[in-house]
């Protein structure tokens, strides 16, 4: 069994052929996501998040480079992948119960009826309610029940929490984490709300302008950066991601090289601070950190 959930090499996708109207959504992406991780996929609108998820799910073909999923092609790994698109496509005329029965019929060997049923029941959804009568958040719940019921090894979720109320958000995030704890499922989820992913995700993939800006384990990425404040001065030799000067006061996010200079105070950023600084500074250099080997004691 492979220990790599997704590996991209020079991966890219251009829409609209070669003409003037072609649009390059993703370009030259290299990263590796080990199995068993919960990965936050972040980036501004149009960064290529949905394109990347669709490529990994095998719904789009790359126009450059390759993407490998669970050691094989996305198409060959299809049975082991569950993908929930942003618009949560479901059959509107089916009832909740019929939708879950369809999930069972489509995944005869893997279907986990108990898990799927519990997720739907936790939301108080009536089994005979038609999907078209459900609210956006309720549809999300049914889509996630379908996805988890498939018992995938890789779960690809495009903005899964966007239309959920806070309680449903917490419940479903808990259900996702429980699934990851029990089955070692790899989860990739895109979101704009970074604070909401902090604590749940242990891996980050930040896209910007169709390229990888940051990739790696969250703890290592945070440790590789420092928020420094102090009197205005030279920040060399550190790599400066973003810096601001207010009066004589300097605030900067840097990748320290050696000790941070005297007179500056330094602290580790939060995940949100790290991502926001990179979003504000689109020209900052990219950084990819590879996973340290798993500790022996599990």
């Amino acid at each position: 069994m492979t220990d790599t959930a997704i590996e991209a090499a020079g991966l890219g996708r251009t829409f609209g052929g070669r003409g003037r109207r072609s649009r390059r959504a993703l370009h030259g992406c290299d990263f590796r996501l080990p199995t068993g991780r919960v990965c936050a996929l972040a980036g501004p609108n149009g960064a290529g998040k949905s394109t990347l998820l669709a490529l990994a799910a095998g719904l789009l073909r790359p126009t450059e480079g390759t993407v490998t999923v669970l050691g094989t092609t996305p198409a060959a790994a299809r049975e082991q992948i569950a993908y929930v698109a942003q618009d949560k496509p479901l059959h509107p005329q089916l009832t909740v119960a019929e939708t879950l029965r369809m999930g069972r019929d489509l995944n005869p060997r893997r279907w986990d009826a108990a898990t799927a049923g519990r997720i739907v029941a936790d939301g108080g959804l009536a089994p005979d309610a038609k999907v078209r009568t459900l609210s956006g958040g309720q549809r999300t719940r049914v889509a996630l029940a379908l996805a988890l019921g498939k018992r995938p090894r890789l779960l690809l979720l495009d903005e899964p929490m966007a239309d959920l109320d806070p309680l449903a958000r917490h419940q479903l995030m808990g259900a996702l984490m429980a699934d990851a704890a029990e089955h070692g499922t790899t989860v990739v989820m895109s979101s704009h709300v970074i604070a909401e992913l902090e604590g749940s995700c242990d891996h980050l993939l930040l896209l910007g302008g169709g390229r990888v800006r940051l990739a790696g384990p969250v703890d290592d990425l945070l440790a590789a950066h420092a928020l420094v404040t102090g009197p205005h001065g030279d920040l060399a030799p550190h790599t400066v991601v973003e810096s601001r000067v207010t009066g004589r006061q300097l605030t900067a996010l840097v990748r320290p090289r050696g000790p941070v200079g005297a007179g500056l105070t330094s602290s580790e950023p939060t995940l949100e601070e790290l991502v926001l600084a990179h979003l504000r500074a689109p020209d900052a250099p990219a950084l990819t950190l590879t996973d340290a080997p798993e500790e022996a004691a599990a």
């Binding site: 919960v38 917490h170 995030m173 808990g174 259900a175 996702l176 984490m177 429980a178 990851a180 704890a181 029990e182 604070a195 902090e198 604590g199 749940s200 995700c201 242990d202 500790e295 004691a297 599990a298």
Partner: protein
Amino acid sequence: MVEYRIDRRSGVATYVQIVQQTKQALRLGLLRPGDKLPTAREVVEATAINPNTVLKAYRELEREGLVEARRGLGTFVRRSLGSAPADSPLRAELDAWADRARAAGLERDDVAALLTSVLDQHFPHDHGKGDTT
């Protein structure tokens, strides 16, 4: 069984919060040797935190000798914190001694001074060594 309460705004790393709350439960006797800690699945389902964070906290507690992981069974408490529970024989002896001190006409401050001098004799330079978590 303990229930962990994760405060994401506290600035304290999540795994440290789990370690601290477990130790607190051990000190208060809410967890005793032989008790089972909640499984990683149970913790993450309730808190929505990452499973690896729970495992990291449990590894830390195991490293400190407080719990042990039994394969396929779960994580169990090995020893409690605070080795002199309220009902120990040592406390009963001290209680009887305090009775005799009062009968001999000693005041609270006299007893405290006496106790401190004996403590200093038996536990030299031990001030503030205990863990502060």
